[in-house]
Amino acid sequence: MGDEPEGGKEGEKKIVHVYPLVKHSDMNEEMRTEAIELTIMACEKYSSNYEHAAKVIKETMDKKFGIYWHVVVGEGFGFEVSYETQNILYLFFAGNLAIVLWKCS
């Protein structure tokens, strides 16, 4: 948040990108596509309530890819997780959101 003034300095130069940017993922192609789509859908639908969005994502992922998914939606946080290999997705979306999904049972 401390960087916001810096963004302000750039002023007109600054372009806010809102497309989903996958920062880290070892999912297979099919799962990743679906997870990204789901994330976008949930975050757009519940843009004011991250908790709700995370809940929706988690529940849907549980249904589709087996239980014990964990989802974090937020603007600022740190995490260090252990997950079942090939089951993590860490992406940015809407310019200010970070979403982490991982599976660990």
Binding site: M1, I15, H17, H24, F77, S82, T85, I88, W102, C104
Partner: protein, 737 residues
């Protein structure tokens, strides 16, 4: 004591018995037991060990006992602690009833229905029931005794009995049951003495052993034999596997707004960088896919094309059925009556839509396929040059459409088809380029094409000829152009190699250049023909009217110079039977027949118009044909008429059209002529135009070739003998049109 009680009346006995139970409970009365025994006189008496031995006096003493219905031994003020109330409270007093033993028996009475049935059944079965336990047998023995007890009781009711009575009764029992009777009698007789009793009992037991055969034991809970079998128990084993847990990984990161922002910027920059590349890749992929598809489609199309070609030919054959018949079989009957003269029968016309307004610049039959001929389309008019040219290969089997079409950027002026490789066609273009096409493959792209300014003719290529293969097998061809050069082109691995054979300098053509240098004038070549026997020798006709005899071996000198025509020499053709004889035609309306190394022509014919082409017939040594711009075909047979043509026939309208080129079919008697409107007409030669030599009667064995040669020789000798210039020299016979 028991006996005493027995002496008392029945009522008291009864009362005693009930008191006895109470006494038993109280732990007191040994006497009570005796009292009980009173009923069981038949039975052996058992004395408790601790029984008091009383004297007779004591025994005689009267003991008064009061019987009450209440239980004296009962504890009246029994208390239990109540936790609820925090004090001891009275427990409810137990009732007066005391249960000593409760025993639900499965014993059967021997006389009962059940027992009887069982006996019957076991008899029916016919085998002895299992041997009962001896003790059990004894117990069973007691039971019938019980039954007797009832009897005894009845007798008691009868008014009490002495011991004798009892004995008597015993006898009765004896009658009923020997065994039992004896047992009890023995007991009675011997009186007391435990030792004896024991003996008796064993004796009784021994007897009982013998009984079963006589009397069956009944089945009840005591009479059974347990037989058990135990199966082996399989040992239990534990088999288990454990799956490998799914692999896990660790990942961690910190999410901050600036991290997100930076990531986006970085990614965006990368995307823009890769954008172009990706597009290219995609395009490449698409093109590749398209190419694959089109390759398959092309193969399929080739198959279809072949089918359609056959179909097209069949349809054409049907349409032009009458022409086809004429072409093969029609012989003009009028020829017999026309002395030496013949005519031409028009057959098919070949044309192609795209070349309708172009000139036929060359016609050539394929050396291998007699029905296939190549027609070049371009323009002879300097002012009306088209920016496209065609080489079409027609077959007489399909007059409606060419079999092969080659399109070029410039007018095609000449072509040649290789003798050994009939699919190799070389063409010379108006712009001075040459190109080699492979007809078996794509007709769209040339196999070889001349490139660059130095590797081409400076002006229009007028004639092109395949040469004999080089010593090391390379295919090559020669071309002649208006720029005065003859080039030799060699088909290398992947390019055309060009060498200059000769430059056609004029003999007296050295003039002063603008800056004082001498410039030797060149004469533009207009046609070329190779000697049929010696492939090194060739003739070049020039636009100045000269014919140069040259050799490919050296380029500096002409072997011979013929001052042939007053205008451009259009075509030269060697005689098929005598290679020393050739014919030339030119723009000065004349056709001249020459002999090698003779400066003057043997024959001169004036055709009244510029002669576009002249050709010797392949079938006769004295027949040649020429086409004029008047649209007429002239056919000469020198053997028939040395002065004029034996056939002059207009093929195209005089003013509108001109004939340009001509070709004889090598096998069949017809010619094709091309005109300025892009139409190629095929004409059948009537019988008079292809007269064969009749062998003399003495020399029937001679073949036609020999005869033709001798015919020409005969004719030549006539001409040669003529005084020079007397008849022929420059006095051309004008043919009436």
């Amino acid at each position: 004591m028991a006996q005493k009680a027995g002496k008392g009346d029945g009522k008291s006995g009864k009362g005693k018995r009930s008191s006895k139970t109470k006494g038993g409970e109280g732990g007191g009365g040994g006497g009570d037991a005796d009292d009980y025994e009173a009923w069981m006189r038949s039975r052996q008496l058992l004395k408790p060990d601790d029984q008091l031995d009383l004297t007779e006096a004591e025994l005689g003493e009267e003991v008064t006992k009061v019987l009450t219905p209440t239980n004296t031994n009962i504890i009246r003020n029994l208390v239990v602690y109540s936790f609820k109330e925090g004090e001891f409270v009275l427990a409810p007093t137990p009732g007066n009833t005391v249960t000593l033993i409760s025993f639900a028996g499965n014993s059967l009475h021997v006389d009962s229905e059940e027992a009887r049935r069982q006996i019957e059944e076991s008899e029916e079965i016919g085998y002895p029931l299992p041997m009962p336990n001896y003790t059990v047998v004894e117990q069973r023995e007691v039971e019938p005794g019980d039954g007797e007890e009832g009897e005894g009781e009845d007798e008691d009711d009868g008014g009490g009995k002495s011991q004798k009575d009892d004995a008597g009764e015993e006898e009765e029992v004896e009658e009923e049951d020997d065994e039992e009777g004896k047992g009890t009698e023995g007991d009675e007789g011997e009186g007391e003495g435990e030792q004896h009793r024991d003996d008796e009992e064993t004796a009784g037991g021994a007897r009982a052993v013998a009984v079963p055969s006589k009397k069956r034991k009944l089945i009840n809970q005591f009479n059974y034999c347990e037989r058990a079998a135990l199966t082996t128990t399989n040992p239990k084993r534990n088999v288990d596997t454990q799956t490998i847990p799914p692999p896990r990984s660790q990942y961690g990161a910190n999410v901050l707004q600036w991290v997100i922002y930076d990531s986006y910027l970085e990614n965006f920059a990368e995307q823009q960088k890769d954008g172009g590349k990706k597009d290219e890749k995609k395009r490449g992929m698409r093109a590749k896919k398209f190419r694959d598809k089109s390759a398959i489609a092309e193969q399929l199309n080739k198959k279809y094309l072949k089918c359609w070609q056959i179909l097209e030919r069949m349809i054409n054959q049907n349409i032009y059925d009458d022409i086809a018949h004429d072409y093969r079989y029609w012989e003009d009957p009028a020829d017999e009556f026309r002395d030496g003269e013949g005519n031409l029968l028009p057959l098919w016309k070949f044309q192609y839509d795209k070349t309708k307004k172009m000139n036929v610049t060359d016609i050539l039959f394929n050396p291998t396929y007699y029905d296939l001929f190549a027609v070049c389309f371009g323009s002879h008019d300097f002012m009306k040059q088209t920016n496209e040219g065609y080489l079409c290969l027609f077959t007489v089997k399909n007059p409606s459409f060419p079999d092969y079409i080659i399109q070029t950027d410039s007018g095609v002026m000449c072509c040649d088809i290789h003798h050994t490789y009939p699919f190799l066609a070389v063409i010379g273009l108006y712009d001075g380029n040459v190109a080699v096409y492979n007809l078996r493959e794509d007709c769209k792209e040339p196999l070889y094409v001349s490139k660059g300014v130095n590797c081409k003719h400076a002006e229009c290529v007028w004639q092109i000829r395949w040469g004999p293969d080089m010593p090391d097998g390379e295919v090559n061809f020669f071309s002649v152009s208006s720029d005065g050069r003859v080039f030799n082109w060699i088909l290398m691995q992947n390019k055309l190699w060009v060498t200059s054979i000769i430059t056609l300098y004029r003999d007296n053509g050295i003039v002063d250049g603008p800056d004082g240098t001498k410039v030797s004038l060149k004469s533009g070549g207009s046609c070329m023909q190779f000697h049929p026997v010696d492939p090194k020798i060739f003739l070049v006709g020039t636009e100045c009217g000269y014919i140069y005899k040259c050799s490919t071996s050296f380029s500096s000198k002409y072997l011979m110079t013929y001052n042939a025509h007053n205008m451009s020499v259009y075509r030269i053709d060697f005689n098929r039977f005598n290679s020393n004889i050739f014919v030339s035609c030119g723009g000065d309306w004349r056709v001249k027949v020459w002999e090698d190394m003779r400066a003057d022509p043997l024959f001169i014919f004036d055709l009244g118009a510029a002669v576009g082409d002249v050709k010797w017939a392949p079938y006769s040594s004295t027949v040649f044909a020429a086409v004029t711009t008047e649209g007429k075909v002239h056919v000469f047979d020198l053997n028939v008429n040395k002065y004029k043509a034996i056939c002059v026939q207009a093929v195209v309208p005089k003013r509108k059209n001109k004939l340009t080129r001509l070709a004889f079919n090598e096998k069949l008697a017809f010619i094709v002529v091309g005109d300025e409107k892009g139409v190629t007409t095929s004409l059948k030669l009537s019988p008079n135009l292809r007269m064969m030599v009749k062998p003399p009667k003495k020399q029937l064995y001679l073949d036609q070739t020999t005869l033709q040669i001798s015919k020409l020789e005969k004719l030549l000798s006539l001409v040669r003998e003529l005084p020079e210039g007397a008849v022929i020299h420059d006095a051309a016979t004008t043919v009436k049109s």
